[in-house]
């Protein structure tokens, strides 16, 4: 019962956050720059949470996430711009094609472990970028014009769905199977877990949401270019996950918000921007090598705050 109650608190809290921000935007209190920053934060959270599922939960070190972002971005842009179909459909299609790309990459490369997987996924990300660079249909290097369709409402709905789905997946036997793969793959196998299956599922699910984020990303700017999806973009997403704490969903959310805000406000100081950004990263890693949240979640902190000793009330 307690868990169900927690879910409703989460729903209400989300609705309040959405409503307040929407009112502020409608009322003109938040100027378009801040509204756009909020959308950008939302997209980054979706990316961070989707990669968290692959790296933080399943322990598969993938650094080609921008590749799936690119697939989602281009597919959704093609659907709205070339076929004139509605935006929600484009978002969904971007997600599905990215998930298929995830399957295509995941099935052969998830046999690799650690550094080898990282290099393989990095290579994949670059391949995607170069493929789009050479397709004239989507504009090649000069990029593709996209109408601005992303609104705060679309972003928030996608964000809400992403976090809900990934939380629900994680807190089930399937999520536990993924965590067991991260913790000890040999033991997971010996416990009857089909480790390859769960690695591929996590990878495809993560790619799906990266694709959705790609759709939002494409329709938030007026143009998309292959250069937006280089490996530096993959590293940006990776940094959210590592900085937030590997294995902590709320950690990746907090890190995505924090770093997006820092990097947005540093845009006024272009000459020192990357230096300050890097110093922030170095300091966090020095003083909190386990990441901002470690493996804990925000909800754990609330448990302690209430003074409930012993943590979760299993079996009550």
């Amino acid at each position: 019962m307690k868990k169900v109650k927690g879910f409703w608190i989460y729903v209400v809290l989300s609705a309040v956050i959405y409503g307040v921000i929407q009112l502020l935007i409608n009322g003109g209190i938040l100027n378009p720059f801040y509204a756009n920053t909020l959308i950008f934060i939302g997209i980054n959270i979706i990316l961070a949470v989707s990669l968290h599922l692959v790296i933080g939960i399943t322990g598969q070190f993938s650094i080609g996430h921008a590749g799936f972002l690119a697939v989602g971005a281009y597919i959704s842009a093609i659907i709205t711009m070339k076929f004139q179909l509605p935006f929600p459909l484009a978002l969904l299609a971007g997600g599905i094609v990215a998930a298929l790309a995830g399957l295509l990459v995941g099935i052969p490369s998830l046999r690799l472990k650690g550094d080898y997987l990282a290099i393989a996924t990095l290579g994949f990300g670059e391949i995607i970028r170069i493929v789009f660079l050479n397709i004239d249909y989507v504009g090649g290097a000069s990029g593709m014009q996209v109408t601005h369709l992303t609104t705060w409402t679309y972003t928030f709905i996608c964000l809400f769905i992403t976090i809900t789905v990934i939380t629900n997946f994680t807190n089930s036997r399937h999520g536990r199977a993924c965590i067991s793969v991260r913790e000890n793959e040999i033991a997971a196998d010996a416990m009857g877990i089909n480790t390859t299956y769960y690695k591929v599922v996590a990878f495809a699910l993560g790619s799906f949401f990266a694709g959705i984020a790609g759709g939002l990303f494409a329709h938030n700017f007026y143009i998309i270019q292959p250069g937006n999806f280089g490996f530096l973009k993959s590293f940006d997403i990776l940094i959210f996950v590592v900085l937030g704490g590997l294995g902590s969903l709320s950690g990746s959310v907090i890190a995505a918000i924090l770093l997006t805000v820092v990097s947005t406000f540093l845009q006024d100081y272009p000459e020192t921007r990357m230096i300050i950004y890097s110093v922030v990263l170095v300091l966090v890693m020095l003083y909190r090598p386990q990441g901002l949240m470690g493996t804990r979640e925000v909800t754990d902190l609330f448990g302690k705050w209430k003074g409930a000793k012993g943590g979760n009330s299993y079996g009550k």
Binding site: V165, N168, F169, S172, R173, H174, G175, R176, A177, I179, S180, E183, N184, I186, A187, A188, D189, A190, M191, G192, I193, N194, T195, V201, G247, T295, G310, G311, N312, Y314, G315
Partner: protein, 264 residues
């Protein structure tokens, strides 16, 4: 005996490149037996376990459980057929709670799908609830219920061993393989472990194969012992037969010792 054996291994072996790690390995284990597998360091005992559990695919021979061939099955499939194991160096899911460690072992017994979990359909809740109740009941048997929410890595060594055995049993095996369960234990802990093994065997009507270096433990509880040296079986028999087998003494203590033992 007469009845067909639970586990039957016929001249199984494995080569790594030009190196024959184990060859011509024959073994029959009947329902309810407690069998030991011993041998000097590097004799290939753990390799045998890895062959039985599908970690390695045998390059020759046959392995079958209840007449079903296991060759070429992946480790998770072998576990589902009914062989589960513990490891020489404990392999728990450190960051998971004691309860979740056991729940992972119940994974393949539950039926609710990924879709039902994502949309939180009724089958998700009933499935998860059943897993949790079973796991708690199970951990109570092993006196681990005070530590349900403790992370596995925070348990003391002896309890980690006990949890690993509990987790292996939760997977519902017909045959349990224990790889050096007493490694690193003091005599008191070893004694408790012997009692635990005897207890689970009784309680779950289990068949057990164990690798062990602690001769007191092996000779104390095993009914039959296989001895492996340089990748080959050199003896098989009751603890008494093994204790007096010159080949075994030679493998452990060298040729001279075997001769002097024969003279005395």
């Amino acid at each position: 005996m007469g009845s067909s054996p639970l586990l039957k291994v016929q001249s199984a072996g494995i080569q790594f490149g030009g190196l024959k790690a184990v060859w011509d390995f024959n073994m029959e284990i009947h329902q309810g037996e407690l069998v030991g597998l011993i041998g000097p360091n590097g004799a290939g005992k753990t390799t045998c376990f890895n062959l039985l559990t599908g970690v390695y695919v045998p390059t020759e021979g046959d392995i079958s459980l209840e007449g079903q061939r296991l060759n070429g099955l992946a480790p998770y499939q072998v576990t589902r057929k009914g062989i589960s194991r513990t490891f020489q160096n404990i392999r728990l899911f450190n960051e998971l709670s004691v309860l979740d460690n056991v729940k992972v072992a119940y994974h393949s017994l539950a039926k609710h799908s990924i879709v039902s979990s994502i949309f939180r359909l009724p089958s998700h809740f009933s499935g998860e609830k059943e897993m949790e109740e079973k796991a708690i009941e199970f951990l109570t048997i092993f006196q681990l219920e005070p530590y349900l929410n403790e992370k596995a890595k925070n348990l003391p060594y002896g309890m980690q061993r006990r949890l690993e055995i509990a987790r292996a049993l939760a997977a519902g095996p017909k045959l349990l393989l224990l790889d050096e369960p007493a490694a690193g234990m003091n005599p008191q802990e070893t004694h408790e472990l012997m009692e635990l093994i005897a207890f689970v065997r009784e309680k779950f009507n289990l068949t057990i194969l164990l690798i062990e270096h602690d001769m007191k433990l092996v000779m104390g509880i095993c009914e039959r012992i296989y001895v492996l040296d340089h990748g080959q079986l050199i003896a098989e028999g009751t603890p008494n037969e093994i204790r007096n087998n010159p080949k075994v003494i030679e493998a452990y203590l060298g040729e001279e010792a075997a001769e002097s033992h024969a003279e005395s």
